[in-house]
Symmetry: C2
Subunit: 356 residues, 2 copies
């Protein structure tokens, strides 16, 4: 079965779920254009999730993907949190952030039964995970309504693990990719970052190792990239950054300006924003504390303090702490923003025109 | 003009110069098969260089490339050397290496007039450089016999610099590449390593930025990789690791075994072997001291001490300090090892069959 048949889509193009910068509007537009739109759920409570899923169902009849993290939440450490806040103290002072007023919450919850309850109401046709797969009972619930399951691999070993544990397709996430590195067989992702490989080397290795279709991710933003990924053995692609300037994305004004700038060409993988390695445009905090800092608490516990700084800085027009990723050049999916109808199998999917 | 026309070759495949693991035999075989063979000269004195060039001329009528480094040699620092030897002291003791008996020589000399004198006798049709380009007077000497000039870029800025300074084609060296990162506009290559990008992202950026042909390097080892590189906008490819198991390479027995092992899948960029970032299979010294160590002296001054350790360890069958790169699966260029004749323009180059 081809990837298109497995996922029920016209073109083998998956819009990467990007928590914080997009929701139902972009997901529905991409699905409506013949690709697979994705709703990032890592930052959503159940009420928001229900509302967003209803929006997608109202806007498109096409298949879509919902994405969750499935990390094991770490035990909070008062000692590490204190070291982290000490490292950030000069920024708190400069930007007038009261460290006592920052909530110590976890920032991101892993997929659980409460979320599965909501999903059961909507029966999304595709569910993707980051950082491995959830427990067997949770996975069985997802399979219960016939959903196809995707997850990301950053090594051949992770791809084989995902295939063995029932993934219907594997996303080979090359080092160029935005967002968090999906590493889940590493005990210390920041340390093991040095052995992570680029899309060009990873995709053919994974394609040779597994029998399920491979979706290439990382550095793919145009038709040339898609052709190259298919040449390397991928059955499809996952694309994120290229969608960030679309009107359907909720990308902030500061972030949109950064994406169009030359500075956006210089990115690095950093653990400063959440505690896990993720790619970001090199900004002030990365230059001064990173890109990798031993002071950052375990994922996702590094998040709240930096999020508070980012919000304050962005309100002053500063991107000193903003983690946008990569450079984006395209602004609009032809025909998608205006609510064009689903093009249907057999016609050239509208989304293909986006990747000129 | 196509890359093949510029370089006078049948297939747009350049054998990457790999100092220490190959010489005239591999270069001549690749050139004879319709690609561009390369002689790495960074470790050769003038007598060896003359002998190797004579060998190539005797073995093939095809064009070939000679490769040089053009770094600015650093001032030796007794303090840094002492710190480096202190870091290595436990290994000296374990392997019975007398640190007093290690020469403090520079390890690699940059391209200079003495080497140009030798080249003038042989007039190699292509000269490639790493770490930028030599001074204008040296470059004029090379151009004097009509040689085409290549060099490596690891960023768009470096590619534009090379084009502006007269390179006939630019090698876009993605992060997957073996050997030294060609970074030459960075003041601190080990620090700036975090912003280096993979082949998949670098090649299209460079191809859009420069008018000269772009040669993709990094992670390319088979026909799929070549097709993908061309799809990304490259005019040709430079391939290294894939040739290391050829009988014409001088790859050591320990190194050949490592290349065929599963361990060879796990590589990292390290500064431990020479002082500059270069990709290596992850071995004991990288796990224990690296991959990046502030104790390593400036390039190439880190080399002699580790070279002494490597030689002693390899003589005991240990790869603890051996820096081979990547995994190799092919052993032979069809028709090349037997001294087959140059296939000639218009016929399918023999080298194409190597990349099945």
């Amino acid at each position: 079965m081809t990837l298109q048949e497995i996922l029920g889509i016209d073109a083998p193009i998956i819009q990467a779920p990007m928590a914080g910068v997009q929701g139902s509007a972009l997901a529905a537009a991409v699905s409506d254009a013949g690709g697979l739109g994705s709703l990032p759920c890592a930052l959503l409570g159940v009420d928001d999730m229900r509302r967003e899923l209803a929006e997608i169902r109202a806007k498109t009849g096409g298949p879509f993907n919902v994405n969750f993290f499935c990390h094991a939440p770490p035990a909070p450490s008062a000692e590490r949190e204190a070291a982290w806040r000490a490292a950030l103290a000069p920024y708190f002072a400069e930007f007038g952030v009261d460290p006592e007023a920052i909530p110590a919450g976890p920032g991101r919850a892993p997929f659980g039964h409460e979320a599965a309850d909501v999903l059961e109401e909507f029966r999304p046709p595709v569910v993707s995970f980051h950082f491995g797969l959830p427990s067997a009972d949770l996975l069985a619930r997802v399979r219960g309504w016939g959903a196809k399951v995707l997850s990301s691999a950053t090594t051949v070993e992770e791809a084989l693990w995902l295939e063995a544990h029932g993934a219907d397709a594997v996303i080979a996430q090359g080092l160029e990719a935005g967002g968090h590195r999906g590493m889940f067989l590493s005990k210390n992702p920041s340390k093991d970052l040095s052995t992570q490989v680029g899309t060009f080397a990873l995709v053919p290795q994974v394609a040779r190792a597994v029998k399920v279709p491979v979706i290439a991710a990382g550095g793919i933003a145009d038709a040339r990239g898609i052709a190259a990924a298919l040449a390397l053995g991928a059955a499809g692609v996952q694309v994120g950054t290229a969608f960030l300037l679309c009107p359907e994305a909720s990308t902030s004004a500061v972030h949109r300006e950064a994406l169009k700038s030359e500075a956006a060409r210089v990115t690095a993988v950093t653990n400063l924003f959440t505690g896990r390695p993720a790619r970001s445009i090199v900004n002030r905090i990365i230059r001064e504390l990173g890109p990798l800092s031993a002071a950052a608490p375990a994922f996702p516990l590094a998040t709240p303090a930096v999020t508070a700084l980012r919000a304050r800085a962005e309100s002053r027009g500063s991107g000193d702490f903003s983690p946008p990723v990569g450079r984006a050049e395209r602004g609009r999916m032809p025909g998608s923003a205006g609510g064009g109808s689903h093009p249907g199998v057999g016609r050239r999917p509208v989304i293909v025109a986006f990747f000129r």
